[in-house]
Every structure is written in C-alpha cells, then in structure tokens.
C-alpha cells in the first residue's frame, strides 16, 4: 500500500495508533480473503460483517446488527470497504462520547432524515417487553414505553428526537446512549478483541 493511503487511513482511525491501524488492516484483509472475490475492490459484505458483530462482539439482535452495518457503511453501497472499516471501528471500539452519540444516533435514525421518529422508536422497542398474556393489546406497553422515552428525551416537544434532543439527553444521562437497543460492544468484548488483534502490534 502506498504511503499516502496509509496516512489517510491513520487519519480516519484517529483513536488508534499507526501500528494498530496496520493490525486492523491486516485483519480486514484476512476477513476479506476468506470470502470469494466477487468484486474488484475488496470489501466486506453485509452477512460477513454481521457475523463478526455476532461472534466477536456478542451482539444478538439481528435488527440492531443490521443498523450497525448501515452506520458503518457510510456510502450506502451495501459493502464495508477498508476506509469504512477503520473509521467505523475507531468509534465503535474507542470512540469519545461525542463520537458515540453521533454513531448511535445514526444507528437509530433508520431513514437518515436527521431525526428518530415515533415509528422508528416503536420498531426498535417492539421486542423489548415480554408479552403479558393478560394484556388485551400487546403493543400497549411498547407504545407507552415510546411515550415515556419521548417525554424524557424530546426537549423541543415536536414528537420526535432530533440530534440535538438526543445529544442533550445523553449528556445528562450517559445510560441513554444506547436507549433503543444495544449497538456498541460491551467492555469485555472490546478487551478480548483488542487483545487478540493488537497482540502482534509491536512486530509490525
């Protein structure tokens, strides 16, 4: 790889050291290598990426994994290229609070219109409650939960969460960062992943 390209990548993965970027690059190529070269440019497809999320980062919710994929896939071409891989992981593993707020917001904003609507929230929270057999309308609880969330986070009272709403709420209460579903890896998984991937960082 040419030096300017590496520079660009190091800049993208600003939370990593140069050596760590190299490790991630190597990992990326290993992962891509496993899949059959169907495209000229090597990149990860959706299924492969979701496998990594599931196996390495212990994520279980298909819907959320799909959304995380979309958040990584900045150019929306259905594939994760090396730049998207480095840039995404930089936030995913070591992001500052600001970066994580932006990342999570992108995950939760399905249509990318800059706000999380009532419907989007409903979809994301749909499976969050155990169905009570006694309840007439099983969605009643979910609707209520969405209303509770809006009441807590919708500071401008327009019925949806703008980025500003979301950011403000998370700053007040960090627990709300992953308010609509787990989309960041848990600390143990991060430690395991980094331990494995950066093990040979010094050798490179």
């Amino acid at each position: 790889m040419s030096l300017p390209d590496l520079q660009k990548l190091v800049k993208l993965g600003k939370n990593f050291s140069r050596k760590e970027v190299k490790c991630l690059m190597r990992l990326f190529h290993d992962l891509v290598g496993e899949q059959h070269e169907r495209r000229a440019v090597s990149s990860l497809d959706r299924g492969k990426f979701m496998n990594i999320l599931h196996n390495t980062f212990r994520m279980t919710d298909d819907m959320m994994m799909g959304r995380v994929f979309c958040a990584f896939d900045k150019d929306n071409d259905g594939y994760i290229c090396l730049e998207e891989w480095i840039g995404g992981l930089s936030v995913f593993l070591r992001g500052s609070l600001d970066e994580k707020i932006e990342f999570c917001f992108n995950v939760y904003d399905w249509n990318g219109d800059g706000s999380i609507s009532w419907g989007e929230m409903f979809q994301m929270l749909k499976s969050s409650l155990v169905k009570q057999p006694t309840e007439e309308d099983p969605d009643e609880g979910i609707k209520d939960l969405v209303d509770i969330t809006l009441k807590k986070m919708d500071h401008d009272h327009d019925g949806m969460l703008s980025f500003a709403d979301f950011e403000k709420s998370v700053r007040e209460e960090h627990l709300l960062l992953e308010a609509f579903g787990s989309c960041l890896p848990d600390p143990k998984a991060i430690i395991a992943f980094e331990g494995q991937t950066f093990l040979n960082a010094s050798e490179i």
Partner: protein
C-alpha cells in the same frame, strides 16, 4: 384457601409463570393445615361447600380415575362427577391427568381419595393456581398489594340484592372462612419461626446426631468425627458444667474435619462458636470465645472447612434447610399474608426475633442507633394515592418484563421522579420495585446495575427503604459489586452502602460478607495531591472517596472498627488524609474520629503521624471538616503524647479560634472538647492562657447547649489548676455562671462543674463569691445525686470550700441533715466516693462542734470499718479523717476499741509517702490513748515510725517522732509503776 400460599410461591421462585413451592418444614406445615381445612370444609359448612367456583381450579394430577367411586362416571382415562352446576358443567372433571374442580365439596372428595398423595395434590393445585381465591370467588377478590376492600365490596353486594342473589351471602361466608385460615396459618408460621432462632439442647443434639451419621474416614464423608467432650448429660439435656450453663452454654464438641485441624466448638443458646480448646494434660477447657457466633454447626463448619462445605451440598434435603437464606425465605413466606396490618405485625415480630438474636452478639455502637425502633409507616388508604404511585408502578412493570433496553429506559425515567420525596421512595417499595432493583444488581448488565444503583443510592436516604434493602439481601449484592472492574459501579455501590449502613444490622451484614475488606481495598489510590493525574487516576481517587464514605457509615460499629484496622485501613486513611480535597477529607476524618473511640486507633493516629494533618485541617474553611478534626483531637487527646503533639504542631491556636464559631453548635462542642482534653497538660494550659482562651471559654458559659457546656466547664476546670488562671476566671466574671450551673441535672456537666468550682475555690477571693452565691449549699445538695461520680466530685470540691471559707463551720451546721448525709456516704461501695468523703470529713472535723455532731452520727465506727482497705488513695484520706476525728471526746478510745489502730500501723508499709504522712499524724493522735500505744507496739509500729523520723517531710517527722515519744512515755510510766 390461602391468599398466603399463592403469594408465597412467588416469593420463593422470584420468576414468572408457574412456580414451585419449596419443600421446607414451614411450607409443609402450611400445606398440612390447608389439607385439614379443605377436608373438614364440607362437613363443617355443608351449604358453603356447595358454592360453585367462578372459575375451575385446574391442575395436573397424579390420581388414577379408578380411585373415584360412586357419584362419578368413571372411564379408563376420565372421570366426571354426577353433580353439575346450573349450566350443566360437571363439578369435577378429570381427563388425562388434567383435573378441574368447581366446589369445595369436590375438593374434599379429592383429598379423601388421594389418601397418601394429599400433600402432593395440594401442592400441585396451589402451584398451578397462584391465587385460588380469585378463581373461587371471582377476579375482584384477587390478592392485591395494599389496602383491600374486597370485604366491603362483598358486604355491599349482600345488601343490594339480598333477594336476588342468595349466593352472595355464601360467598361472603366462604371469604371470611378463608380469611380466618389465613390468620391461622400466619400465627402458626410465626410460632415456628420464633422457635428457629435460638438453639436448645434438643436441636443441638439432633444436629450432632445428624452430623455423626455423615462422619467417616473416607473422602466422601463430610467430617472425620464429631464427639462431645463430656459423656455426662444433665437432666436438662445440657453437657456443659452448671457454672457454664448460666452463660447459656449447652455442650462442647470436638470436631475433626478432613482438611483442617481439630475444632473445639461451644454450642450455646445464642449459637455455636469456636472455643479455646481442651488442654488434654491438664484436663482444662478454655471457654473463651475464639470466633464469630454462627447460627448452627453446619454454618460454622461451612466457614471453617471447605471440604465440609463442598460435600454437604450433596447430602439429603434435611440439610438444605440449614441454608443461609433459610430463615429469610421462611420469613418472607409469612410476609405475604394479604392484609397490611398483618404484614406490619409480622415485620415487627420478625424484627423483634432477629433483634433478640443480634443482641447476643453484643455488638456495641459508639453512636446511638438511629431509627432502630422507628415504626413502619404506610399509606393509610389507597384512595388518595398520588399519581406518581401509579406511574412508578407502571415503570416497575417494565423493569420486570423488559429486556435490557426497556429496563434502562424505565430506570432513567424513574430517576426523573423526585426520589428525595418520601411518597416516591415508598411507592417504589410498595409496588415491589425494590426487589427488582436489587435483582438487577445480580445481572451481568453493567448499564442496568448502574441505573439501579443510581436509584437505590437516592432512595436509601429513607430509613425504611434502608431496612428493606438490607432485608432483601441488597447489601450482599453491593459488596460483590465492589470487586467489579468498572469504577463507576464501584463508586455507586460504595455510596449506596454508605447510605444503607446507617443501622446496626446492616453494618454487621456488610462485615459478614467481607465488605469491610473490600471497602478498605478501594482506599488504595495514588496520592491525590500529586500533579498531572491521568483520568484513570482521578477515577481511582473518586473510588477511594466513595470507599471512605462507606467506611465512615460502617465505622459506627465497634467490630467494624476492628475489621477496618485488621484490613490495613489505617495507613491508607493516613495517606488519604494528605488529600487537598475537602470532599475526600470529610469522610476520611469522619471515619478516623469515629474510630478514635478505640485505644488502638488513638495509638495508631499518633504513630502514623496523623495529628499533624488533623491540626492542619483545623484551619480550613469548611466547618464540617473542622468539626470532625476537632472531634478526632478531642478523642485522641486522652493520650498524653497526643496532647504534646497538638501543641508542637501549633494546633492549640486554631482550636481557640474556633471558639468564635458560636452559631455552629456541633463545631463548638467538638472544639471545646478538644480544648478540654488538651488542657489536661499544664504546658498546654500556659499556651491557652497566652491565646486568651479563658476569656472566650467564660463567654461560652451561658446560652449554650449542654454538650458545649460540659466541655467548656471541663476545660475551665483543668485551666483552674493553675493559680493565675483562677484569678483570670474571676476577672472575666466566670465564677457566677459556674456556680449557677451547679443546679443542673446533666450528670457529665455536674461532674465537670463541681471540679471547676472546687478548683476555683482554692483562691480565697473566688471563695467569697461562691459563698455569696451559696455555692457550698449547692455542692452539698449534690450528695443526694444518685451518680457516685457526681457525689465524689462534689465531695472533692467541698474540701477547698470549707478550708477557704471564713465561717464554714457555721454554714455547714446550718444545713439541715447535712452532716448526717455526708457521714452516710461512708456506706458507699465506690472507692472514689469514699476517698473524697473522707477528705471532706477531715476538713469538717476541724470544727469542734461539727465534729461532735458527726461523732453522734457514728462516724468513728464507719471510718474504722474502712481501715481494712488496700487502696492507697483511700488510705491517705481515711487516715487524715481519723487523725482529725480523734480531737473529740472519747473518739481516740473508740477507734482503738473498733480495731482501727492495727490496720493503720500497716499503712506505714505502703509505698505512698502521702499515706505515710497522714497515717503518722493519725497515729500520733491515737497514741495519746494508752491502749492504742499497746496495740501499736504489738503491731511493730515503733520500728516503722523510727525509720520515718528520718524523713525529709517535716510534718511526717514530727508526727512520727511524737508518736514514738508517746509510746516510749507509756513504757517508762509502766516500768516506773512496776519497779517504782
């Protein structure tokens, strides 16, 4: 059939869907009672028993259809009853092990045919029908938390349609009968629980027998052997010797585990513990307690032998009832009975039982227990519950039935309520939120734990919530969280522990679960005054701060102080004491001042060079911190070296400065306390004089609360030991307020006031003021105070008063019954009182008329009786009193007749020169009587006196010589008479 039981099932499983009733003796007895109730129902209440249930009770049975007889249509796989309800439904239907029943009469039939499977059937029925009452009488009678108006509703129904619906009356009766059963069940369960708590010879015997049956040399056996140290069993079942039985001890065991040394165990009614063991050679047992007290042998062995703990699990069920949570489960079992007042009663009862148990541990606390007896308050009626109640109830529902995401949302939303408000705090408890919050602490979800702890931390400011959290085992969970690598979690857990551990039982729980050690571990962080801290180091410092907060709360129990010390907490606290941050210093100094009640800490505070830091922080601009520093010095300055150190580090001046903080009474009390203790050293008194502390102290003699006054007066009393200060106190106008304080009732204050007045009275000018205010009479009246310390202190104060007052003799005589009062104090059994009263009598006896009066009151015999004492202080003043009392009438002879002379001679062998002086004077007086001379001579007085003649003390010299002369003179006269 027991609102109780259905709820019990929930408690014991803490899950959803169908639960299982645990097999414990208590559950079993409750089931038995229910069986008896149902079986007799149709014969006792024939009409009610035919009432058709609103919904069938349905469960999986093990009964074969063939068991049913007449009145039933029996086929191979199914049974239907001939009896039907209005709509033609059979009242009993069984098909393929699924059974449906619609009336009590059918239920009792089932039990009849079930025979030996009764228990199993009832259990299955109750497990499948969590709330049978709801099925029997309809959903409106379902068991609900909180006030229950079902009875009222029923009454109304009966009234409204008395003719239309005859069933309502039956329903009412059935309902009442069920209620009755509930009460009965609860009472019996309570009885059983109350028996569990204390050990008896029978229970110990059973347990030992049980253990014996699992002993052996093979590896599977839990123990090698268990044996009594004594073969003899008293008729009451005890094996301990009678003089140990009075301590509640039952027997002693010698237990050989597989993996550790032989254990010597004492079984007592309060529990079992390790003793010092048996010395085989001397056949002596060391009864001293060497371990904590455990509830029973199994618990003790689990702690002491890991081999035992591992193997015990695989043993039959009879053991599992000894599980740690046993009593808790059983109690909660009882707690579920529907009605509020019942619950209240139960809670109260249970806490009493456990209270009795904990008292046995003699866990003392340096602070008065807050709210230990506070009664549980509940909302009186459910009609005007605030809207928050319902909202919180809804959120708790989402907590229970939500995944991590929903849980976090519900937790965050709950934090938006005003959690400082009692209605919200109690609402969370009343809708069952506390259990859920505590259960969340046991999950792996860090976010849920954080959210839960944030709420628990807030609501645990309420004392009832604290108790509930401890009751649900929340402290154990929090202690476990202290091991988490997540620093935020550690902080929250420690802060919550700090809030919860405000009462004794909670502090004990923290210790028992290894909390103290872990909390001390949190204190270990880099010195926080170093510059350029990394964010991680800052987090560590925050963790340490939270740990110190928790230790502060825990340190109010004596055992915890010990545990903190043993866990190596003192050097860590010493390091944190160097912190520049006040929010760190306050909990650290708070803990130190709490612990300074222990001698070991006072020494350590001195040796770890903490006095310097304490003194430094006295000058900080934070009153709370200043207060804790001053109290720490107050407690530590009991030690002489500490007092010196406070002076060397220039701590006396800031203390004096604090005297101007007249609005903050706590601070003032701590500062004056520190000054008082520091002024015990004379060098410090000189410094205080220099800083004009005495003027300030005198200014604090009026309009101050008692805890300040005690210390102020104490300090003045110490300062007045110095001649020049007595005049200063007078010049500042301190004598009058001091004398007027003699009329108070606070014992501690009176002790200090009398001491101060006594010290001031040494100055004759002060005495005129005291006289003018009738101070002597006030002091005298304190002889009627029941506290011996006050009596003694008053008597000491009286001595200088009599000496310095011009016409003291006359004044004393004027006190009606006064002299009789003081003579009677010679009957006291307190050495200090006796010594002080003897000193006072020595002064009183200088006035001849008064001496005559006290002689009439029998002072001679009383003094003579005391002469056998070995206490040098008492000997000195007693000899002085005897010497002075000789001056009247035939008192010299009387002392001789009452046998006072011989013991006095032996006083001369004492090592105390002050005793020698007073005794010689007394002997000189006594030797004016011939018989006394003979006694003295017989007891070898001459030799002893001769050696004292050589003393440098002139009074002693003269008295000794005079005495010898008298003896000699008698001998000469005798010779003269004989040989003439």
């Amino acid at each position: 059939m027991g609102v109780a039981l259905t709820r019990a099932a929930q408690w014991t499983t803490a899950g959803f869907g169908t639960g299982k009733l645990e097999i414990t003796p208590l559950n079993e007895s409750i089931l038995q009672e229910i069986i008896a109730f149902v079986e007799n129902f149709s014969s006792k209440h024939p009409k009610e028993s035919s009432l058709v249930f609103k919904e069938p009770l349905q469960w999986t049975t093990t009964l074969e259809p063939s068991r049913f007889g007449s009145g039933y249509e029996v086929s191979k796989l199914s049974v239907t009853s001939v009896e039907t309800d209005k709509d033609g439904r059979p009242l009993l239907r069984l098909s393929a092990s699924n059974i449906e029943v619609l009336s009590f009469s059918q239920l009792s039939t089932i039990l009849r045919v079930a025979q030996d499977k009764k228990l199993r059937e009832v259990q299955a029925c109750l497990e499948a029908n969590r709330d049978p009452v709801a099925k029997i009488l309809g959903a409106s009678y379902a068991t609900v938390d909180g006030e229950d108006y079902s009875v009222l509703r029923l009454l109304e129904k009966v009234k409204q349609d008395d003719d239309a619906n005859h069933d309502a009356e039956f329903e009412m009766k059935v309902f009442l009968l069920i209620q009755q059963l509930d009460m009965q069940l609860m009472n019996n369960s309570l009885k059983q629980i109350s028996q569990e708590v204390r050990l008896s010879p029978a229970t110990v015997k059973n347990e030992v027998e049980l253990l014996e049956s699992f002993c052996g040399e093979e590896q599977e056996a839990v123990l090698k052997s268990v044996e009594y140290t004594s073969d003899y069993e008293f008729s009451n079942g005890c094996r301990a010797p009678p003089w140990r039985q009075v301590h509640g001890e039952i027997c002693y065991l010698k237990i050989k585990p597989h993996d550790t040394d032989t254990l010597y165990v004492t079984c007592s009614t309060a529990g079992v513990f390790l003793n010092g063991g048996v010395d085989e050679e001397k056949e002596k047992t060391d009864y001293e307690r060497k371990s904590e007290v455990y509830k029973d042998l199994v618990n003790l062995l689990k702690q002491r032998s890991s081999h035992f703990a591992q193997n015990i699990v695989s043993l039959p069920l009879s053991f599992s009832t000894n599980d740690d949570n046993y009593s808790l489960k059983e109690m909660s079992f009882v707690l579920v009975f529907g009605k509020f007042h019942d619950v209240l009663f139960t809670l109260d009862y249970v806490s009493k039982i456990s209270g009795v148990w904990t008292e046995e541990f003699s866990e003392s606390s340096s602070e008065s227990e807050e709210d230990e007896d506070q009664l549980d308050r509940r909302q009186e009626s459910s009609t005007d519950l605030p809207s928050e109640y319902w909202q919180i109830q809804k959120l708790v529902k989402y907590l229970k039935g939500g995944n991590q995401t929903a849980t976090v949302i519900a937790l965050c939303s709950m934090r938006d309520f005003n959690l400082a408000q009692e209605t919200c705090q109690l609402a969370i408890r009343d809708v069952g939120g506390l259990e859920v919050l505590i259960n969340l602490l046991d999950t792996d979800e860090i976010k849920c734990k954080i959210g839960s702890l944030k709420i628990l931390k807030e609501i645990s400011r309420n004392s009832q919530i604290r108790r509930a959290i401890a009751g649900f085992g929340g402290l154990q969970m929090m202690v476990n969280i202290l091991d988490s690598p997540e620093k935020k979690l550690k902080c929250l857990a420690a802060e919550t522990i700090a809030n919860v551990a405000k009462f004794r039982r909670a502090r004990r729980t923290v210790r028992k679960h290894g909390g103290i050690k872990r909390l001390v571990g949190l204190l270990d962080c880099v010195p926080s005054d170093s510059a350029n801290l990394t964010p991680e180091q800052e987090k560590d410092i925050e963790v340490a701060r939270c740990g110190a907060l928790a230790l502060w709360s825990c340190s109010k129990s004596t055992r915890n102080k010990e545990a903190i010390r043993k866990a190596g907490g003192i050097p860590l606290l010493a390091r944190l004491l160097k912190s520049p941050h006040e929010n760190m210093l306050i909990p650290v100094v708070g803990t130190l001042q709490e612990c300074a009640s222990e001698q070991s800490y006072r020494t350590a505070i001195q040796s770890e060079k903490m006095i310097e830091d304490l003194v430094k922080n006295l000058s900080r601009d934070n009153q709370e911190l200043q207060m804790h520093c001053a109290s720490a010095i107050f407690k530590c300055a009991e030690e002489k070296e500490t007092r010196e150190l406070v002076r060397q580090f220039d701590g006396l001046k800031p203390l004096v400065t604090l005297l101007s903080m007249s609005e903050n009474k706590q601070l003032l009390a701590a500062a004056t306390g520190a000054i008082w203790k520091c002024s015990i050293s004379l060098e410090n008194v000189a410094k205080f004089q220099e800083y004009k502390a005495i003027d300030l102290l005198v200014g604090l003699l009026t309009d101050q609360p008692e805890e300040v006054l005690v210390n102020v007066v104490g300090a003045l009393g110490e300062c007045a030991q110095e001649q020049s200060n007595r005049a200063i106190i007078r010049k500042c106008g301190g004598i009058q307020p001091l004398v007027s304080l003699l009329t108070g009732t606070n014992q501690a204050l009176l002790i200090n006031v009398t001491k101060a007045v006594g010290a001031c009275a040494i100055d004759p000018e002060n005495m005129t003021i005291i006289d003018r205010m009738d101070g002597l009479r006030l002091l005298w009246s304190l002889f009627k105070n029941p506290n011996p310390d006050v009596q003694a202190s008053a008597a000491w104060a009286i001595c200088p008063c009599i000496e310095n007052s011009k016409d003291a003799g006359e004044v004393v005589r004027s006190f009606v019954g006064g002299l009789e009062l003081i003579v009677n104090l010679l009957k006291s059994d307190n050495k200090e009182v006796l010594a002080s009263v003897c000193a006072a009598i020595a002064k009183i006896a200088k006035d001849e008329e008064n001496l005559a009066v006290i002689t009439d009151h029998g002072v001679v015999a009383m003094l003579a009786k005391l002469t056998k004492t070995t206490d040098d202080k008492l000997r000195r003043y007693l000899a002085e009193a005897i010497g002075n009392c000789c001056m009247w009438g035939s008192n010299r002879m009387s002392f001789g007749e009452t046998g006072a002379v011989a013991p006095l001679v032996h006083y001369l062998k004492s090592s105390d020169t002050m005793v020698h002086q007073a005794t010689s004077v007394a002997l000189f007086q006594l030797s004016k009587d011939a018989n006394n001379c003979i006694t003295m001579h017989e007891n070898g007085a001459v030799k002893l006196l001769l050696s004292l003649v050589g003393s440098t003390d002139e009074v002693l010299q003269e008295a000794a010589a005079g005495c010898v002369a008298n003896i000699r003179r008698l001998a000469l006269a005798n010779e003269k008479a004989r040989y003439g």
